[in-house]
Amino acid sequence: MIGLVVTFVIFPLVGWSIGRRSIGEAFLFGAGLTGTLLFLAGVAHVPLVVALGLIVVWGVGSGVWELMHRSRTPQLTSHPWLPTILMCVPLIALTFVAAITPLSDFDGRAFWALKAKGIAHERAIDGPFFRGATLDPRNHYPILIPLDGAVILGVAHDSDDRQLRWLYLGLLAAFALLVRERIGRLVSPAAGAWCAALLVWVPQFAVEPEGSALSAYSDIALAAFAAGAFFELVEEVLPPRDLATSQPRDLATSQPRDLATSQPRDRAIRFGLWLAFLVLTKSEGLPFALVLLVIGAFVFRKRIVIPAITSVIAAFALYVWRARIPAGDEEDILRMLPTVFQKLHHLGDALAAFPAHMSLFPRWGLFWIAVVIAAVLAWRVDRRAARLAISVILAMLAVYAGVYIATEWVVSDLIAVTADRLLMHVIAPALFLLALGARAAVRSSWNRD
């Protein structure tokens, strides 16, 4: 119960402490910010307890102040009831399951929750746990989410993983709310609501033993942070729509400017923070941040310097931390890259991996087929936004395919256990394409009528 309270109070308040935003975004921002600040503190040898104390005091104080004094963010004026109910049903069911059923996944227990326990126990990120005093098979994995977990375990004074169940569920719920709000703002409230509903019904997010909200993997967090960064990019190229009329905001008359989206510089900072969270969440986060930075350079132009700086700080801190501790049995992709030309026989498997997994009905239903169709339709409606989403998806899948080629694992085995989780990372651009595609279909139907 303490874990539940800590999860759903501290993280949103920390998220709100740097500006009013929706609850979903606040939760994700709070989780990302808490983990990042604790990581930087740990790298700088600031005691984690002191750093956490400061974060909680500052975060809760300014978060509460922010909630009480700043003008309210414009809320969605229409609440499509059907997708809202459909979104709530699995979240309620998953809450019930998470409250009762113990954690039983592989990576969550073997790596991620173990790290959370280790950090909570030693109150350090480079203590004996990370220096080989005990078994930590993936010692170099980034630890943003384990740091959040350690906060929960530490405040709860309980190292049992039951306290962590809410964090992973909260990440999915917050992700869904972020999708609902952002796509609602960028395309239409109905599209946002339906995309959020679809997200929580995707088996890979909802019920798969490995990677879903019932596990303790970091893939939902990575997907959510990537979504945050992606939506900042899209908002830069696509004028936000009026929440009441679904018209581009320029055409709307009396709505106040959304504080969270009003300043281009603020958007670049937020984009940079999302990228930093990506870098510190999973090893895949670094190439993801690089891809988003490259694409972002075309969107933000000179302002890309800000996100580049935050990403470099995060990557440098990660490098320093890794240099201090022994490596586990994880693959060193950078070291393997030069061998890629000797492993071109993996190319076929690597290229076939994602199409094969996208069409796995028990994991994804018709989702990716719909995304492909929607991408074609979206291209006709809003080429720039569609290009952005498609380029993010394709670039990341190309990076992941490259890793499959370079890997020293048995490629087919690696693909079998990772491809669906990697597809999770690009769900936000995919949902955005669905929303754009649906709008295109609606317009086309209207035109025919």
Partner: protein
């Protein structure tokens, strides 16, 4: 709503249904499973999920000292179980060893955990190195399938009796076969020297007993020395010095008393001279022209580079290892 075009709505519904058709039944299953777990305590829920394996982890967690690291030894197929044992045992620190050989190869490491936990997919148990070794040896095959039995004798000495491990895969044992060809049961007294450990075994009339590691099986030690076998009835026996890791074995002589004239033969690496005093009284022997006292039932060895001349009331022999790892013995005449 009615003004909205139909085709996108149908497409959206189809997409949603394609997801729900998989997710909904599994969600219902998860909820039902949670309902069945609800009346149980949290640990009991874990036990229900993971079975007796988790119960054994719980027992072990209560048993292990919190601040003493433990070695998790698991077979290659049980590494996953060891990883989870590590998770549930934390903050007890653990080190994973895939197979017993990796643990023994780490013997020179001063930080090697002394507490050993054997992990399988079925259970997690605190154990000892000797127990694990014995389990592996029992599960394996003896090197000598058809031993050559000696002529019947009532008393004899085995000049080398050992149960020891070198670096993996070196595993030295004495494979023993003792047959009682008599119509009466034989009460056999076996003494392991120089520790002086005594065991008595009964061999039924016409029966044959076999040991894959006689020193450890009879005396429960990992050690080396020599052995004396006393029986009221003549027995036929075969004792092999076997290296289970290499799969080679050498038949040991069943000696009656002192002998020192070691037969000249090529020697290789790790050559050692062994001298035993089978008597219950101290003796003096000359080794390479130097006199040495040997206590009662002594068993002494030292490295040599050539075969030394030995004299006195002792039994002396040389062991040398060929380049392929096989151990050769140079016995006295």
């Amino acid at each position: 709503m009615s003004e909205r075009p139909l085709i996108p709505r149908i497409a959206c519904a189809l997409l949603f249904l394609s997801l729900a058709v998989t997710t909904l039944p599994r969600l219902v299953g998860l909820v039902n499973n949670a309902r069945t777990l609800l009346p149980l305590g949290y640990e009991a829920r874990r036990e229900k999920q993971m079975g007796p394996w988790y119960a054994s982890v719980e027992t072990l967690r209560r048993e292990l000292p919190l601040h003493e690291p433990a070695a998790l030894i698991a077979g290659p197929r049980d590494v996953e179980s060891a990883v989870f044992a590590n998770y549930y045992l934390y903050p007890i620190r653990t080190r994973l060893f895939v197979g017993r050989d990796n643990y023994r190869n780490a013997a020179p490491d001063p930080a090697l955990p002394k507490t050993i936990v054997a992990v399988t997919a079925d259970r997690v148990t605190r154990t000892t190195y000797d127990t694990l070794r014995d389990r592996d040896l029992r599960a394996g095959h003896r090197v000598v399938g058809a031993p050559t039995l000696s002529e019947p004798r009532t008393t004899f000495i085995l000049p080398m009796a050992a149960s020891l491990d070198g670096p993996a895969p070196e595993t030295f044992v004495i494979e023993a076969t003792i047959a009682n060809p008599n119509p009466a049961p034989a009460e056999v007294r076996v003494t392991f020297w120089p520790k002086g450990l005594v065991r008595t075994i009964t061999i039924a009339p016409g029966a044959t007993v076999k040991y894959y590691d006689v020193v450890h099986q009879l005396f429960g030690v990992l050690d080396r020395g020599w052995m004396r076998v006393d029986s009221p009835l003549p027995l036929r026996a075969a004792f092999y010095f076997a290296n289970r890791g290499h799969g080679d074995a050498t038949l040991l002589p069943n000696i009656a008393g002192p002998a020192t004239g070691i037969v000249a033969a090529p020697i290789y690496r790790d050559t050692k001279l062994f001298v035993i005093n089978p008597a219950a009284t101290p003796v003096t022997a000359v080794v390479g022209g130097v006199s040495f006292p040997f206590g009662p039932h002594a068993f002494v060895s030292w490295p040599v580079t050539s075969i030394p001349r030995v004299s006195g009331d002792v039994y002396a022999f040389v062991a040398t290892r060929e380049m392929n790892g096989r151990t050769d013995f140079l016995w006295p005449r």
